[in-house]
């Protein structure tokens, strides 16, 4: 069943920070869209990046893999990546898989931007 509403990933620039708004669910179907947004940010030379989720987004293990791949690429490219407003449940899951060792997680965009 193809999702009727496909996930979008729009890029905004706030000062020296790029914000990728992930509008929709994070599943393997969203991989190309999200990775393209990441590549756009990377090719623009921005080194600070926020990936912002919808609080009610469905994220499965394939979606976790997308985030991990971005975190790995970010490490290789010398970028700092912050995740914003995944639900409490997915914050817990990101902690369980160990992702907090590599990316910081914030409850809101202003919190993530503060001191970034």
């Amino acid at each position: 069943m193809e999702p009727r509403v496909k996930t979008k990933a729009n890029v905004r620039i706030h000062g020296n920070v790029a914000i990728i708004d992930v509008d929709g669910d994070l599943t393997p179907e969203a991989r190309e869209t999200v990775e393209l947004a990441y590549q756009r940010v990377t090719s623009s030379g921005v080194r600070k990046m926020i990936v912002k989720f919808k609080p009610d987004a469905y994220i499965n293990s394939g979606g976790i893999a997308i985030i991990i791949n971005i975190a790995i690429a970010g490490t290789k490219n010398g970028q700092t990546i912050r995740l914003v407003q995944p639900s409490e449940h997915f914050q817990k899951i990101f902690t369980m898989v160990g992702l907090r060792q590599y990316v910081e997680i914030f409850g809101s965009e202003p919190e993530a931007l503060a001191g970034f």
């Binding site: 069943m1 193809e2 999702p3 599943t27 393997p28 179907e29 469905y58 499965n60 293990s61 394939g62 976790i64 893999a65 997308i66 991990i68 791949n69 975190a71 790995i72 490490t75 639900s87 409490e88 449940h89 817990k92 899951i93 369980m96 898989v97 160990g98 992702l99 060792q101 590599y102």
Partner: protein, 156 residues
């Protein structure tokens, strides 16, 4: 909910996206039973991952092959059986390790079984039943949740 066992069964085509039907059904049953919302979310993720594993690894996304999901509602526990027609999980599966994923020794994928084991109170893989090869997951109401459920029922 009365103290009797009730079973709800679903059949899903092995196509990504349909796992959400099972996830929502299991979540709805857990809410009815009085599980805390955080446990409902745990269950939804575990059911989703078990269905995706069945669709991908057992059925190779052959949509004509059905994943059967049985929700067995007990008085203080919810058992979810996810059955497929595959051979079952290998005896040993390497645990996902984020450090190894960052160093390239493992791919970024492979979190499904880890999540199922981490989020459920009890998990059995490769249970053989008339439905096929079953992943069996159980979550139990905790004492506080049962108290809350009891007070809700007595207040009706």
């Amino acid at each position: 909910m009365p103290n009797e066992v009730r079973t709800i069964q679903l059949q899903l085509p092995s196509r990504l996206g349909y796992e959400r039907v099972a996830m929502d059904a299991a979540g709805a049953a857990a809410k009815l039973m009085g599980f805390h919302i955080s446990r409902v979310e745990d269950l939804r993720t575990a059911v989703s991952e078990a269905c995706i594993n069945a669709m991908e690894h057992a059925h190779q996304y052959n949509a004509t092959m059905k994943v059967v999901v049985a929700l067995v509602i007990g008085s203080s526990s919810l058992q979810i059986d996810v059955a497929d027609q595959g051979k079952g999980m290998p005896e040993s599966v390497e645990s996902p390790d984020l450090t190894k994923k960052f160093s390239g020794e493992q791919t970024a994928r492979g979190w499904g079984v880890f999540l199922i084991k981490s989020l459920m109170d009890e998990v059995q893989f490769n249970v053989r039943s008339e439905m096929g090869n079953v992943t069996r997951m159980v979550i139990r109401l905790e004492a506080l949740e049962e108290e809350e459920q009891g007070s809700t029922e007595s207040g009706r």
